[in-house]
């Protein structure tokens, strides 16, 4: 056996995986060749040392970070609106989207080209545009789904700036699902930042024709504690000509604990609605 042949067997030899008669041949060669012997011994030592390495233990920090993440996730689940199977399917489909914008673009382009190619194959010359259009529509829907998810996940963030970004994303949605409107109303009621709530009032203006939004605006008006947000809500209700808000507005004008600016605004709103 030549050195090269022997060395090919080294890895197996070191872990005792070489069968006879090859084994004897290797051993014979090792007796004779000093270089190979030295190398074999080195490998053997390395193998044994590897065996004595302790198994990697997760640090205590890892555990606590995991717990925190799990808590945050559970918290998110508790607060998430109930999902239908259809929304579940959407989310599952959405999870296949890559996170990086470049990849998303590449993926979209790939799909588009695939669609065009399939279109050409199926309808060779007669009417090539129709299947391609279908594909584009599907892509548009996917894109809108994705934006919706971005908006929803941003509105859950700890950073107020990120939540504001989420609220502003809602302007980019052509046909936002009920989830987005629900999330906006939830932000309006519960967000700790006055600025985020103010931006939410503005964002809800675009959904002013939905009864749930009109109802939410009136509810928020009564329980809001920042006068500036109250004023914005009063303005919105008046702009929407929401007659249902009259009772709440009247209540605001009569409550001495309510900020003076708010009371004046409510009074003015009443005179416009009545």
């Amino acid at each position: 056996m030549q050195c090269e042949e022997v060395r090919e067997q080294f890895a197996d030899y070191v872990i005792d995986q070489v069968a006879e008669p090859a084994r004897s041949l290797v051993e014979q060669h090792l007796q004779a060749c000093e270089n190979c012997r030295a190398e074999a011994e080195e490998l053997q030592t390395l193998w044994k040392t590897l065996g004595t390495l302790p198994a990697a233990e997760p640090s205590t920090e890892l555990r606590s970070r995991f717990d925190i993440m799990l808590e945050a996730y559970k918290h998110g689940l508790d607060h998430a609106p109930a999902r239908s199977w259809w929304q579940g399917l959407n989310t599952w489909l959405g999870s296949w989207w890559p996170r990086q914008p470049i990849l998303q673009l590449a993926f979209s382009m790939g799909l588009l080209i695939l669609g065009l190619v399939i279109g050409r194959q199926v309808y060779p010359v007669s009417n090539p545009t129709i299947p391609a259009n279908n594909e584009v529509t599907a892509l548009r829907n996917e894109l809108s789904q994705m934006r919706q998810m971005v908006a929803l996940s941003l509105m859950q963030q700890q950073s107020a700036s990120d939540r504001l970004k989420g609220v502003n994303w809602s302007y980019q949605l052509q046909q936002p699902g009920r989830e987005v409107v629900t999330a906006l109303l939830d932000t309006l009621m519960h967000d700790s930042s006055v600025n985020v709530r103010l931006a939410t009032v503005d964002a809800l203006r675009q959904f002013g024709d939905q009864p749930v939004v009109r109802r939410g605006v009136i509810d928020a008006m009564a329980r809001e504690d920042a006068p500036m947000v109250q004023v914005a809500l009063i303005d919105l209700a008046v702009d929407l000509r929401e007659k249902e808000s009259i009772a709440t507005l009247r209540q605001l004008t009569q409550d001495q604990k309510v900020n003076e600016v708010v009371r004046e605004r409510a009074q003015k709103g009443l005179s416009e609605l009545e």
């Binding site: 920090e61 606590s64 970070r65 925190i68 950073s159 107020a160 700036s161 990120d162 504001l164 970004k165 502003n168 930042s193 006055v194 600025n195 985020v196 103010l198 931006a199 009032v201 503005d202 203006r205 920042a226 006068p227 500036m228 004023v231 914005a232 303005d235 919105l236 008046v238 702009d239 600016v261 003015k268 416009e272």
Partner: protein, 271 residues
């Protein structure tokens, strides 16, 4: 859990013969992971907050002045001892890179002066008795004050600031990319200084005030009745939609919301 709780005890103060009511208290702490910016949260009832960036990893919290809230019915307490402890005024708690500073004794009023690492995220809230001042800090800065103003000097990153009755004054030396910002005040003015090369989409809204700027702001046509001043629209007196100006600086970028009901808006170019 790497929870570190640091309590200042009155005991120490007494041993050192420092009168707690008028003395100063100082606590030094660090974030558990100094390699990434920590978050400092403060919520005070009485007294202002000053936060300054410094170039070490320590957070130094100092409580100044104030003292116990004067009790007008003090005469009735002759011969009695106060039941609550006068010490333990300052509590600094750190958990997973979030540090919470609180004044535990409601009777205490005093200003907090805090030095933080240069890159720190802030969440500061105050109710009565002073401005919130931030100087030289980079990060996500969220500030909210009810009866005092907000002053941000030479800060960087992104800002969310609100004051009900005070002015909001912010000077940013650098803007975080792609972070929206919002500055608002109900009864005060909103005065912001931005780097001259800033790219932003502006949304300016004021009921009874006007907007001023030395930036070249491209107003978008949908900012409804264009070339209409705030005052004109305010006199029409309807919804924010009717008195909001939208515009871009240097081609546009992240959204900056500037709002006030009764104050003016100033957008200044950094010199």
């Amino acid at each position: 859990m790497t929870t570190r709780v640091v309590w200042i005890t009155l005991l120490v103060a007494l041993l050192l013969q420092v009168t707690p009511a008028h003395g100063q208290e100082t606590v030094t702490a660090t974030f558990s992971d100094p390699s990434r910016p920590g978050l400092l949260r403060i919520n005070t009832l009485n007294g202002g907050i000053v936060v300054k960036g410094h170039s070490t990893n320590d957070v130094v919290v100092e409580m100044k002045g104030g003292g116990a809230r004067p009790n007008p019915r003090n005469t009735r307490s002759d011969g009695l001892r106060r039941i609550d402890s006068t010490g333990n005024a300052l509590s600094v708690e750190e958990n997973n890179n979030v540090m919470t500073v609180a004044i535990r004794d409601f009777g205490r009023s005093g200003n907090l002066e805090i030095q933080v690492p240069l890159k720190t995220n802030l969440n500061l809230k105050a109710l009565n008795g002073g401005d919130i001042v931030v100087e030289g800090v980079e990060g996500e800065i969220e500030v909210s004050n009810t009866n005092g103003g907000v002053v941000l000097n030479n800060v960087a990153g992104s800002v969310m600031a609100y004051s009900m009755n005070g002015r909001v004054l912010a000077s940013l030396r650098e803007i975080a990319a792609n972070k929206p910002m919002a500055l608002s005040s109900m009864n005060g003015s909103v005065d912001v200084t931005l780097p001259s090369n800033v790219k932003a989409n502006l949304k300016m809204s004021s009921n009874n005030g006007e907007a001023y700027s030395d930036f070249d702001i491209q107003l978008s046509p949908n900012s409804s009745p264009a070339n209409d001043t705030f005052r004109n629209r305010a006199s029409r007196g309807r919804g924010p939609g009717g008195k909001t100006l939208n515009g871009t600086i240097n081609g546009g970028g992240p959204d900056f919301d500037l709002r006030t009901l009764n104050g003016n808006i100033y957008i200044r170019k950094a010199k």
